[in-house]
Amino acid sequence: MSTITRGGPFAYASSLAIDVVTMSLVPEADTVRNETRLVFDRITAQLESKGASLGDVIKTTCYLRDESYLAEFVQAYDEVFQSHSPATHIAILGIAGNCRVQIEVVATRTPAERDEHAPIPSAVNTLDPKESQ
């Protein structure tokens, strides 16, 4: 499993404030606000390892364990993205260990990097009228 990958014009990163040895929340993540900050610190480190930064993030999907964490999460999230507003989706569901926040982001490559790569392969729309799930 990777926590960050790059493909085409995008980088994908995700994190949560978990200690993978104990599979529990790290002690520094004592509040939802601190947990959110820590998750973004980890994502920042991942992005920087690939030459990107939080300023390159264009989209996030945020997972919270409980809706009661929303207000505190929103406050912390707004502090992280002050210069731009990524497209954002929030869902409430179960997360590993006792974590309360998990976030995945999509970041863009710089234009200079993008030019170095081959065109993105064709995408295909299915034509099955019985499509269902």
Binding site: P9, F10, I58, K59, T61, E67, L70, A71, F73, V74, Y77, D78, F81, H84, S85, P86, A87, T88, H89, I90, A91, I92, L93, V106, T108, P111, R114, P119, I120, S122, A123, N125, T126, L127, D128, P129, E131, S132, Q133
Partner: protein, 134 residues
Amino acid sequence: MTAFIHSQPSTDVLPRRSAGVAAGDFVFATGNALDPSTGRRAATAQTITDEVRLCFAAIDNVLREAGLTRSDLVKTTCWVTDEAHRPEFIEAYRAECAVGVYPARVTMEAGLPGQCRIAIEAVACGSTPGGESC
């Protein structure tokens, strides 16, 4: 080039955010039935079908700004808050799709902010600079 589309202020249940973003040939759109003034599900989203329609209307607004249409959608991630909503969701979703164009889709059950019951994240792809479709 990256363009953020329909940036919106914080509410008590959603942070400052954009409804979508165009990055190169790709457009990412978030579709939900939230009333931005209340941060709650819009009063017009009474049925699941209503809510799906409003989700697609929100996606349409992003696609339009980016010069794309629903026919350019390639992937959706759909969220329903209760399995009981799934049959009506599927029927309403298919009714909203352009005939013969069904993006790759996953549908998951999870909670959503603001008493929403349905949300749809969408990825669309436009033309490459050389004129070739994605």
